[in-house]
């Protein structure tokens, strides 16, 4: 049984939650920040044979500093392959080779649909967001999608204002109806309060585990849909000593992950 230090911050816990969803040998498309951290924790602990790639065209990068974007120059030296979007998104993702994709959403709904396009009306927006980028193809085509989101009644929604990236769309049968590949779709929503899984029948996100320091009641209150709770709901396992060691000594010695605290991940 691994030790659980108590001096961790919430973004570190969330990165560990992501890492634990990755199996050895998985092919993973990662972005920056949480996803890169999570995927690398997995690689340094239980999944040494996970294969990581960035949509910009990089496969098996060996960066010497945490990458600040998927186009970061530190991803170049040492990578096993560098090409471009047509190769990584067009060939590997569209070709059906990607097991795990990570996505962050400004707004995420109960079916795991993600909005990164616009808050408010599309034609008359309150806030114009970046757009899809690689999110829509990753959400459409990766076998297992892990979603990172802030947990409040604004960031989580019954229905997104704009569906940039498909989760389970309108519920059971939707992905199949639209012809998305079988056995694909969101696996969990990892928030700063909890990990939500997806019900195999209703395709609705439900409470799987709640993070230390919160409770089932609090999480339910912070969720804008009628959140179902797993029969075996329990507290999220805190970061293990080895996971923190990998993060703090190898992946992120300057602890840049702290910037997520200022973005509300507390």
């Amino acid at each position: 049984m691994s030790a659980h230090p108590t001096d961790y911050i919430k973004p570190e816990l969330m990165a560990c939650c992501g890492a634990r969803e990755i199996s050895d040998g998985d092919v993973v498309i990662v972005g920056t920040g949480f996803p890169a951290m999570a995927a690398n924790i997995a690689k340094y602990t239980h999944a040494p044979n996970a294969a990581l790639m960035q949509e910009s065209g990089v496969y098996d990068a060996r960066p010497l500093r945490p990458a600040l974007s998927v186009g970061d120059p530190c991803l170049n030296p040492g990578a096993a392959m560098i090409a471009g979007l047509v190769e990584v998104i067009g060939m590997f993702l569209q070709g059906g080779w990607v097991d795990v994709g990570f996505l962050a959403g400004s707004q995420v709904d109960k079916y795991g649909n993600i909005n990164t396009t616009v808050i408010g009306d599309y034609k008359n927006p309150k806030s114009r967001l970046p757009g899809s980028g690689g999110a829509n193809p990753i959400g459409s085509l990766a076998k297992k999608v892990l979603i990172i989101a802030l947990h409040d009644r604004r960031r989580l929604a019954e229905r997104v204002d704009f569906m940039t990236t498909p989760g389970y769309i309108d519920g059971p049968g939707s992905r199949e109806k639209w012809g998305l590949p079988p056995q694909t779709g969101p696996k969990v929503i990892i928030t700063n309060k909890a990990v939500l899984g997806f019900d195999t029948l209703t395709k609705e996100a439900y409470l799987q585990t709640y993070h230390p320091g919160t409770s089932v009641d609090e999480v339910v209150k912070l969720t804008p849909w009628d959140l179902k709770v797993a029969d075996d709901v329990h507290e999220t396992e805190p970061p293990r000593e080895e996971e923190l060691k990998v993060m703090r000594e190898i992946l992120d010695p300057h602890r840049m992950i702290r910037i997520y605290e200022s973005r509300g991940y507390v």
Binding site: S56, G71, G84, I89, G90, T117, R128, G134, P137
Partner: protein, 311 residues
Amino acid sequence: MGKVMSMKEAIERHVHNGQFLFIGGYICRTPFAAIHEILRQKKKDLTITRSNAADDFDMMIGAGAVSRFISTFLSLGVYGLGRCYRRSIEKGIPHRIELEEYTNLSLPMMLMAGAMGMPFVPVKDMVGTDLLNIKSFMGEGKYKIIESPFDGTRTVLVPALKPDLAIIHVQQADKHGNAQMWGIGGDCKVGANAAKKVIVSCERLVSRETVGKDPSRTIVPDFKVVAVVEEPFGAHPGYTPGFYDVDFAFGSLYQKSSDTVQGFENFMNEWVYGIADRTAYTQHYIERFGYGAFKKLQAGFDYGYPVSYAY
């Protein structure tokens, strides 16, 4: 007549109001020297495209050069949302650009189709989402859904894109235009080859013989290229692998400046309109931030092993 010329000449001759431009770069190799020249020459009514646009597209939009944007994404990366982009869409400042939105799968595939002379290409994404519910200047031509003639499955088709001109920045090129690049590619290769003609901006001009020592690195052949511009530091504040790193401090300066219309105008006067060319820009950079800051961006050396093409 030779293809090697100044950026001023290249833009004067080959960029015209109302054109459709592919502008390469993915944080890496952003052709910023060319973009600044386009803005100095007050080009207007441009349609621009690239997957994952960043500060360069934001600047063109803020400067009022853009009418239409075939997009997938625009942000300032670690510095958040594109300020000029937001002002254009949310408030119509300086005017509201028209957007046709795709994804980092569909757009590179559309450029690939353009490069290959195919009329359209099937893609497996976008279905079931609002990306299929929004259509702008491409109207019904944004996409089509058909039943595959092979197996009857529902298939999304997107049209080929054929920009009038591509502008790319690479590490090296010869005077004929053979352009060599290494490192993260984004959609640079398909975008450049989809265009009817290409302006190549490069860190260094090399001989045809040098190109021939490692020809697998060439992404655009000379017959597509109409202008070659040697423009060291030409992608700053973006990076060029083997030459210089991303300038995060400058990225922050752009973000803070572009927070307001006045700040953006001041930035543009200082770094674009009041500057003659890339050499003057680099000089201004060194005067403003010191040689140490400039030197710090320069890449170290980490050469690969030479490859042999002998037989």
